[in-house]
Assembly symmetry: C2
Homo-oligomer: 445 residues x 2
């Protein structure tokens, strides 16, 4: 039998159902995996094996007919999301060992549906910087090459799911904090439509951008989560076939973007070739010029909303805040309110237009990251390719399957119009089958 820790959540659930696995045995297998791997990956900010096993035994006691749709699904929670039975420390010295007895709405929802909240995963400071050690960043390493970053800010969830320490992870995304670690760690990562899942109890950076993010090693697992979170499209759930589907492929470089590295450039080309080979039509597009200011607007929105978000901690412990966050509060860039409002309003005006563009295709395909995970841990990498979809509030899935020059995983982003999350997942399932089978990268056994 496969070691239980290797199972996806859906596979583990099938084993719970047919009686071949208990939640306790599953949890033990995951904990064993963590104990073997943690000194290498450092993905956890808090993990109490005793608590995990206690909860697992409680779940095993629930009668089969009373089990929730997430029964026994182990979930790592990014440490900027409140959990009532574990500390939430934001990788900030201000919140060391802080443990308010409160679940974020997302965690409350998962628990109510039978999930096993496993532990807290590492994050960069308040999920708001791209900084690793020696500053305050997490010392989390990429499981596929510990000399490389797992990405950020959802460093721990990305690494833990990529390393089979847990099948599901929660991240957050304000620019690229969910999708980037998804690519770097070779897993599926989803940023759903903005505010389609409650972000109550999740640290605020930007109200208009912050989104809960989801990690898994299969599309089935993401589907489990979307259903529990009541994500419903307007359109009925119809089967999606690659053959005959039309995709948009973002040509690169876009005017405001850096050029992709060789790994991402090759992945984009190979991805398009594979889809064509399976009968899809690929149309190369560039984002029209009218959308070019979105890169500049994103910076202004972040600065303007960060100015508000970090004021309380600025008052209580300015000396323990990263300089970037201080610069927001002090409006170091001297952005005027007028500039901030123009950015806010113009981004809002772009959203229905970009939706209309996306609606012409099964999905838009673009890069998730510049290239494979860079070496070193000082910096968690660039989020520039993720920002546009975040400011547009669109759902994005990182699909793994490709590899870079050093054999590290590279994923591609598929993107749909707002509230087409379930559609995007159906597209991702079919695209994922192809990319995973023929893209050239496979998770180490």
């Amino acid at each position: 039998m496969t070691e239980p820790f290797r199972l996806t959540a859906s596979q583990a659930q099938a084993a719970f159902k047919d009686g071949s696995l208990t939640v306790e045995a599953y949890a033990k297998s995951l904990l064993d995996r963590v104990s073997v791997r943690d000194s290498t990956t450092h993905a956890w900010a808090y993990l109490d094996p005793k608590l995990v096993l206690e909860r697992a035994r409680e779940l095993d006691k629930i009668l089969p007919e009373k089990r929730g749709p997430l029964h026994g699904v182990a979930i790592g929670v990014k440490d900027v999301i409140l959990t009532k039975d574990m500390p939430t420390q934001y990788n900030s010295p201000i919140y060391k060992d802080d443990a308010p007895k409160l679940d974020a709405a997302s965690v409350q929802t998962l628990r109510a549906n039978g999930a096993l909240i496993f532990g807290k995963t590492t994050t960069t400071e308040f999920a708001s910087t791209s900084v690793g050690p020696p500053y305050a960043g997490p010392k989390t390493a990429n499981p596929h090459d510990p000399s490389r970053t797992p990405g950020g800010s959802s460093s721990g969830s990305g690494a833990a799911v990529g390393d089979m320490q847990v099948p599901i992870g929660l991240g957050t995304q304000t620019v690229g904090s969910t999708i980037r670690p998804g690519s770097f760690n070779g897993i599926y990562a989803m940023k759903p439509t903005w505010n389609s899942i409650s972000r109550e109890g999740q640290k605020v950076y930007s109200l208009i951008l912050d989104t809960l993010g989801l990690y898994a090693r299969s599309v089935d697992d993401l589907k489990l989560l979307l259903d529990v979170f009541h994500l419903v499209d307007d359109e009925p759930e119809e089967e999606f076939a690659i053959k005959g589907a039309k995709f948009a492929l973002l040509t690169l470089p876009q005017p405001e973007w850096d050029a992709p590295g060789p790994g991402t450039a090759a992945a984009l080309k190979k991805g398009a070739d594979l889809l064509r080979a399976h009968g899809a039509e690929i149309e190369e597009i560039t984002l029209p010029d009218e959308f070019r200011p979105m890169y500049d607007y994103q910076l202004k929105v972040l600065a303007g909303e960060g100015r508000v978000a970090f004021l309380a901690d600025y008052y209580t412990a300015k000396d323990q805040l990263h300089p970037l966050l201080i610069s927001h509060v002090e409006n170091e860039k001297k952005y005027t309110r007028k500039e901030q409002l123009k950015a806010f309003d113009d981004l809002a005006a772009m959203r229905p237009k970009v939706d209309a563009l996306a609606d012409k295709y099964a999905a838009i395909i673009g890069p998730s990251v510049v290239d494979e995970a860079p070496t070193g841990h000082e910096n968690t990498g660039s989020a520039q390719f993720c920002g546009p979809w975040t400011v547009m509030h669109m759902p994005v899935v990182n699909i793994p399957g490709f590899k870079g020059e050093n054999g590290m995983p590279i994923g591609l982003s598929v993107v749909a119009a707002r509230y087409r999350d379930q559609h995007l997942l159906r597209v991702s399932r079919e695209v994922g089958k192809i990319f995973e089978a023929e893209g050239g990268w496979a998770r180490n056994p």
Copy 2:
């Protein structure tokens, strides 16, 4: 000497400064006032006199040169805003006695600046309904006539500040939950620009509408708060004079609004006459037709965001949720995502246009409420006149001074473009002097 409880926060601070009053003596006076009045007004969801006096004594011990700008300012906190040393119960049976050890960002900011967090004030369920008893609503009464409602959802903060049980109160506003109790209780109420103050740790109903609200009995007190919360306009702080200023007066009824009651109609006429008599120019306006859909859009945004906001509690305790909140989660109105997005996007497109309209005037003057506070406690009154400014993200101040047919207070709203909060406060100071002196209503001595 005036009994300390009658002082505004700014007056109390002057007395702390000249040594004529300690924070402890002030707190005792407020607690005495509460003990005399609480059986009538029922404004508090939680108040621990021992804790208040302990904190007051701690504040007294701080050396004068180390005192914060809000030193000793007593603040009632609406019971949907987290406080680390008091329960937060949302007037929901689900959260009875729930007390996570966490301060909302607003409370953290106030504490860090020396405020005395006094107690938790009553609210309707999750600040999301307009329902009083016998359903789950607070039994809070209007201090000026206990047979009447104090308004909602910020019932307790409105009543407590109106009744001089505390000089400052925090409310929240998603439609009219701050401004309406302001008018009903005869006090200043301010809804600042959306997201100009962090709403982290404040119950979420609608991310795009929820705003922290402020109550006080003087403009000086509101100014203290805006400064601590770093609300800075683009324009420098220049003196404002009524003479020569131009105001817009909303003519009523607007196409989508009910007609105002006789009290509000008289207040609008008298307010305009008074300002004219003091040398202001008044231009009557109606909102252009293109803005009329905002009333419909507001409902769709509330339904769409409420669908997300109450999902977690729906899973854990549906039987203890108000039917309105269940109807949101279940999307009883069958709104499509397309309708919800159109509402969201079109409201966004209106905001810069309404700003431009407001910028032609010192402020727009409109009704805060339909009329004086209605009798009974089953319903906290209509918020229809407040909704438009909330969906437009504009700052609003309720200015007291008028009275209705039964002698109850009535206020008027002054409104400015986004991020002109400090400007609006300067306007409110001068307008308030006139309305309070000549409007016809005065707080009972």
